[in-house]
């Protein structure tokens, strides 16, 4: 339905453009296209972004559309997200994918990533693992941290590529090194188990700690248990309890059980210290991507 609406909008735009050409020699298309296009005539990408942040998605859409039509990859990508999320428009995965495909072809790594995800799930486009891997590889090579992680997952499960835990670990570690918490947690497990890498408990603890500091509850549980046991890291039961309290506070049930068991082996003072440390903890999320 939205596609029909957009087709009719496109048709209407063309009619307006033709009339405008006849009346003014093509100088005043924006005026004839209405108030929205008036704003778009002189508006920049940044004007669209300002409208977006205010929540005026209709204006953002009207500013970014002509920019996208003129080849602006960032405007194309953002239009895709407006359609994907239904901001100011009826949600349309197909429209989203169409814009992301154009933006990806114009060099947007963000668009290539989102397009690949749509291809993986068959959301607005044909389900196609092979094509998804190609798009993810291009975005990952271009520096998209999320694509590096996702590509690693494709290698891990053999989707669109031959299953290869070494390549999986290589891509996921790239994303981990850039600060993606989920990738850091994943590398913690890989080094713990020797999955695609040589087993290395110290590195495992290091990656769990990195993700834990970003507030990732599952990693907090893992680093808590390692600190309690001295696995890959020096024993520190109070610090261990701090992480377990944090993970438990985030709803991690096993962490709550681990915390209860560990607390029984500590004094009141130590338990209190761990609680105080947990209460004053502030996650340091990495927003590099």
């Amino acid at each position: 339905m939205s596609d029909m609406t957009n087709r009719s909008k496109t048709l209407r735009s063309r009619v307006i453009e033709r009339i405008a050409d006849r009346l003014t020699g093509g100088l005043c298309i924006a005026v004839l296209a209405g108030g929205l296009a008036t704003a778009a005539g002189a508006a920049s990408f940044e004007d669209g972004w300002a409208a977006f942040k205010k929540g005026d998605y209709g204006t953002a859409l009207n500013i970014w559309t002509p920019l996208a039509d003129a080849g602006d990859a960032k405007a194309m990508f953002n239009l895709g997200t407006l359609y994907d999320q239904g901001r100011g428009v009826v949600p349309s995965r197909k429209q989203a994918v169409d814009w992301w495909r154009k933006a990806a072809d114009a060099g947007s790594i963000h668009a290539a990533h989102n397009l690949a995800l749509a291809m993986i799930s068959g959301d607005g486009t044909k389900q196609d693992y092979d094509a998804a891997v190609k798009r993810l590889t291009s975005a990952a090579d271009g520096g998209s941290v999320r694509s590096q992680y996702s590509l690693g997952k494709m290698y891990e499960f053999g989707l669109g590529v031959s299953r290869n835990t070494g390549d999986a670990a290589r891509w996921i570690e790239k994303a981990a090194a850039s600060g993606f918490h989920r990738a850091q947690y994943n590398m913690g497990k890989r080094y713990r188990d020797g999955d695609g890498v040589s087993q290395d408990l110290a590195r495992a603890a290091g990656w769990f700690m990195a993700a834990a500091r970003q507030g990732y509850a599952k990693a907090q549980n893992h680093i808590g248990t390692r600190l309690a046991r001295g696995e890959g890291i020096a024993v520190d039961k109070v610090e261990a309890l701090k992480w377990l309290y944090l993970a438990a506070g985030a709803g991690h049930k096993k962490a709550a059980e681990h915390a209860e068991a560990l607390a029984q082996s500590l004094s009141d003072t130590e338990r209190q210290k761990a609680r105080t440390m947990a209460d004053s903890f502030e996650a340091a999320p990495n927003d590099v991507f």
Binding site: F52, K54, D56, L82, G88, L117
Partner: protein
């Protein structure tokens, strides 16, 4: 756009989710705005506790109206950044969406096949996915109003409340809300229908397709990847 189809017995979750007289044979057809036949089951969105016998449409209407008022307040652009506004909408949704039923419905018969740790991981990812999707979809608008235009009985237990979301610019968006009243008096939203497209049914169709190929783990991985999607860039 994913079409609204008919949910068949093969796509439905296990009988153990059903309660009382509900079973796989109990199908009811709901209509919305006289345009689309939305075929839904009674059993599929059922869990064994605290379920009311029926949801009076007029009460569902009031529930959505009150929720809309809270949402408009949460969206007040004078009270924070886009991210903060979306955060408030997310909180509101997490309190009023029945994520567990929605998640079980979306996984359909695969719920029964899933191991306990798969269920836990799936439910966590599904909840995160739904909340982030809907809070972006509904959050952040300025000058938005949500008008309740009607409510009707959808199934024996549920009501469907039709609304129109009016924006500062652009055409209004039709959204309908499947609502259930529970014995304790609470109301929960079980589905959102944007422009005649049932969100949970669209999810179910997608998950079924992936699960038939890659099992429940495939759905979990797909959700994990979906959560890495990029939002708009400055």
């Amino acid at each position: 756009m994913t079409p609204i189809g008919t949910i068949t017995a093969a796509t439905m979750p296990s009988e153990e989710l059903a309660t009382g007289t509900t079973s796989l044979k109990n199908l009811r057809i709901g209509r919305w705005l006289g345009v689309v036949a939305l075929t839904l089951t009674l059993g599929v969105l059922s869990l064994p506790t605290n379920v009311s016998a029926q949801t009076p449409p007029e009460e569902a209407h009031s529930f959505i109206q009150a929720l809309a008022a809270q949402a408009i307040e949460a969206l007040d652009p004078a009270t924070g950044t886009l991210q903060e506004r979306e955060g408030r909408v997310r909180l509101l949704l997490s309190e009023n969406l029945d994520l567990e039923r929605m998640g079980r419905f979306a996984l359909a018969s695969n719920w029964k096949k899933a191991k306990p740790d798969q269920r836990m991981e799936y439910m966590k990812l599904f909840s995160e996915f739904v909340l982030s999707t809907y809070s972006r979809q509904l959050g952040g608008y300025t000058g938005q109003t949500l008008n309740v235009v009607g409510a009707e009985k959808l199934t024996k237990r549920d009501a469907l409340v039709s609304t129109e979301i009016h924006q500062a610019s652009g055409p209004p968006i039709a959204a309908a809300w499947r609502v259930r009243k529970f014995k304790n008096g609470d109301f929960k939203i079980l589905d959102v229908v944007f422009e005649k497209l049932s969100m949970v049914q669209a999810q179910q169709e997608q998950f079924m397709s992936i699960a038939s190929r890659d099992g429940v783990d495939g759905v979990i991985q797909m959700l994990r990847l979906k959560l890495t999607k990029y939002g708009a860039q400055s």
